[in-house]
Amino acid sequence: MTIEIKTSTLEPVRNTFANIERRFGDKPASRYQEATYDLQAETNFHYRPLWQPEFELNDKNRTKIVMEDWYALKDPRQFYYGAYVQQRAKMQEAAESSYWLFEKRNLADYLSDDVKNLLITYLIPLRHIENTANLNNMYGCAFGYGTAITQALLYNAMDRLGIAQYLSRIGLMLDGNTGQSLIESKQHWMENPAWQGIRALCEEMTTVEDWFEVVLAQNLVMDTLVFNLFYEQLDGKLAAMGGRDIAMLTEFMQAWNKDVNKWFDSVLKTVASESDENKALLHAWTEKWQSKVLDALKPVIQELLEPEALDLAVAELEKRIKKAGITA
């Protein structure tokens, strides 16, 4: 007697969605691909926005940058929502245990008044810069084109809100949860002459119209300089002042900065290599914002760090600019 063994493998009719197949061929696709490409409506919009009748709802002309295919700006981290939140959850878990330890061991009590003052005057106010970064990335998300870039900008915007909240928590740990340190640090932000240049610049950035310009001004120029100065360089100074433990609380920001630069550098590189016109625009914007941000930072950095600090930060920025291929 022969037994017929039925192989119950079901042959699929197709491997992936047709739009993915048109882009990458008829083969199994990744979750990032299926959740990213061609999601945004391209054509046949019904009504022009009442708030911007000169544009369609989704419109490539909200920036001067021109891309043949905006989906070329893929994310090397392959973040779709699920991948993004899971990655950030891991980072927050690490941060949470540091914050927990810091509180449990009452490490704030070991900080000198000088260190505490320095933090309230110069570090905690960064939460307002992060708030601006949140707005600027939201702006790019809302007015940008194609899911590849807009989803990454939204993740970035939410990250900035998260960082602003971590910075606020540092303040709350210093003041024993009364909020006093946040009130003081906001006063510095609002009134301390050293901060006014940066505050004015943040306000100005939220009025820039071209979404790619403001995203570049924020994520390339402002962030490279600010993260280098206020996290890396300030870390050294804090350590010398007996405030080494603060590094536990800013580890998230440093790890985050590396993660995000990987993405944004690749975006810039793709945009720059698309055309000479793009490259020229990126170059002009970089120059313009570099000089604005440096001018604005000067007074606060003069008070906070060594004279060569700004040059070190600029060297960092120039490295990134070169890497992205943004040349005159």
């Binding site: 009719v13 999601l39 019904h46 709802l57 899971q86 909240q165 606020s168 946040l182």
Partner: protein, 500 residues
């Protein structure tokens, strides 16, 4: 140092809206330019009550836990060929409509909330909208991933985003959301957060998710339940925005009322697709559309509007029409699709005898009188080998874009034609509700991209309907469209199930 420790509410305020500040160096209106043109008066953003208090670290943590579970189920579903567990191949057509018609709206919600999440001057409202934006991105992406497996085994899913931009019946949901997003930020919130998410959302999600649960569709049902805790947050935002606007200034009341009237009607028209899905497309029924309407709108909505009466808000205009419509709308909608089944990206069919009886029982006042005879006729013709399809292109309602197939609700034998003249042109509507919406904002609705007009004007490729369907819509003709009987979907299903 005798300052008091913070309570949760004040702490959340410090962690969100206190990040913002009064501008001194540029005009704040240049940074937030769209807050005034709708005529809404905001006197004090600080009165905004945060509808939920969720910091980003907690958000990452909770959402990551949810995604971990959700994707574990998707993986298992694919590995075990979960699609074989649905009731029958007809069911899958309900989720084809979902992916092509609803998922793109989740995408538009992501975009719309990103826009208002940047533009509101009040940081509390802004942050709540940003969180909704990222949630809505989650919804569209998890829906794609849930359907990804179905797409490998059934027709009609494969070009969902291309279809959404072009196919005639998909302009109904698309124009709905285009309408909301092209409006000002406050109207957008009244349209989507309040009228849709708060008042009507149960009529969209309960039918699809319980439909999935009743019909063995593990993938859809899991993402539905997983999205529920997000939706709970979205609903609190809907309630907060309406209370906030009504309490800010009495001049806001008539504006908000006008928006409620408009978006309630727009919403009911959009839901007619859900109505037919519930009554005709689910092999295992959940409840009838009429019952769903009574439970989720008439009872729940009735209580809500009683509550809002103290602000001077009344029930939406034309609500009395919906009371009659609930008896008819699902039957008329499925009939339209049965007639145009050759031009649809999913399959249609005649209800089985048991299903006809179920409909008679659920609609004792209307089904046997008006609708059963049509199906009996269709059955007879099908038995004679004469399954019919309407060849003429239908006229569409300028507002909701549904083919003009709905009847007068007092006389279900008469199509309800309405029209308006505007700048020398005539515009047609399916109902008084749609005509009223047009008359309030004709400059907006004359722009409508009406698929049938566009075909006639030659803007959709070829000269024949077949060319439009094949080349412009990219339907796989003979596979995606036509009756379920004889379709490749049905054939494969029979092979998998080992029935002849």
């Amino acid at each position: 140092m005798s300052a008091k420790k913070l309570n949760l509410k004040d702490k959340y305020r410090l962690l969100t809206r206190d990040l913002d500040w009064e501008y001194s160096y540029v005009d704040r209106k240049k940074a937030f330019p769209y807050e005034e043109f709708e005529g809404i008066k905001i006197t004090d953003w600080s009165k905004w009550e945060d509808p939920f208090r969720l910091t980003m670290d907690a958000y990452w943590k909770y959402q990551a836990e949810k995604e971990k579970k959700l994707y574990a189920i998707f993986d298992a579903f694919a590995q075990n060929n979960g699609h074989l567990n649905v009731t029958d191949a007809r069911y899958v057509n309900a989720i084809k409509i979902f992916l092509t018609g609803v998922s793109p709206l989740e995408y538009q919600a992501y975009q719309g909330y990103a826009h208002v999440g940047r533009q509101f001057g009040g940081a509390g409202a802004r942050v709540a909208c940003q969180m909704q934006s990222i949630d809505e991105l989650r919804h569209v992406q998890t829906q794609i991933h849930a359907m990804s497996h179905y797409n490998k085994y059934f027709d009609g899913f494969q070009d969902w985003t291309h279809m959404h931009d072009r196919v005639w019946y998909l302009s109904v949901p698309k124009s709905f959301f285009d309408d909301a997003r092209s409006a000002g930020p406050f109207e957008f919130l009244i349209a989507i957060s309040f009228s849709f998410e708060y008042v009507l959302t149960n009529l969209l999600f309960v039918p699809f998710m319980s439909g999935a649960a009743h019909n063995g569709d593990m993938a859809t049902c899991t993402f539905g339940f997983s999205a529920q805790s997000d939706e709970a947050r979205h609903m609190t935002l809907g309630l907060e925005i309406i209370k906030f606007l009504l309490e800010q200034h009495e001049d806001n009341v008539p504006i908000v009322q006008k928006w409620i009237d408009k978006w309630f009607w727009r919403g009911t028209r959009l839901l007619s697709i859900v109505a037919m899905m519930m009554d005709y497309m689910l092999p295992n029924k959940v409840m009838s559309w009429k019952e769903a309407w009574e439970v989720y709108f008439e009872e729940a909505g009735g209580a809500l509007f009683k509550d809002l009466a103290r602000y001077g808000i009344r029930m939406p205009k034309f609500v009395e029409v919906t009371e009659k419509e609930k008896e008819h709308v699902s039957h008329q909608a499925w009939w339209i699709f049965y007639n145009y089944g050759h031009a649809a990206g999913f399959h249609t069919w005649i209800p089985s005898d048991e299903e006809l009886d179920w409909l008679s029982e659920k609609y004792p006042d209307t089904f046997d009188k008006y609708y059963r005879p049509r199906w009996e006729l269709a059955k007879k013709m099908e038995a004679e080998g004469k399954r019919f399809y309407s060849q003429a292109l239908p006229q569409l309602c300028t507002t909701c874009q549904i083919p003009m197939g709905f009847t007068k609700m007092d006389d279900p034998t008469q199509i309800a034609y309405r029209s308006s003249d505007y700048e020398g042109e005539k515009y047609h509507f399916c109902s008084d509700g749609c005509k009223h919406i047009f008359d309030e904002e004709p400059e907006k609705y004359v722009q409508s991209w009406l698929p049938v007009h566009q075909i006639y004007q030659g803007n959709c490729g070829g000269a024949s309907v077949e060319e439009v369907l094949r080349d412009y819509y990219k339907l796989n003709l003979g596979a995606d469209n036509l009756d379920i009987k004889g379709s490749p979907d049905e054939q494969r299903w029979k092979e998998w199930k080992g029935v002849a």
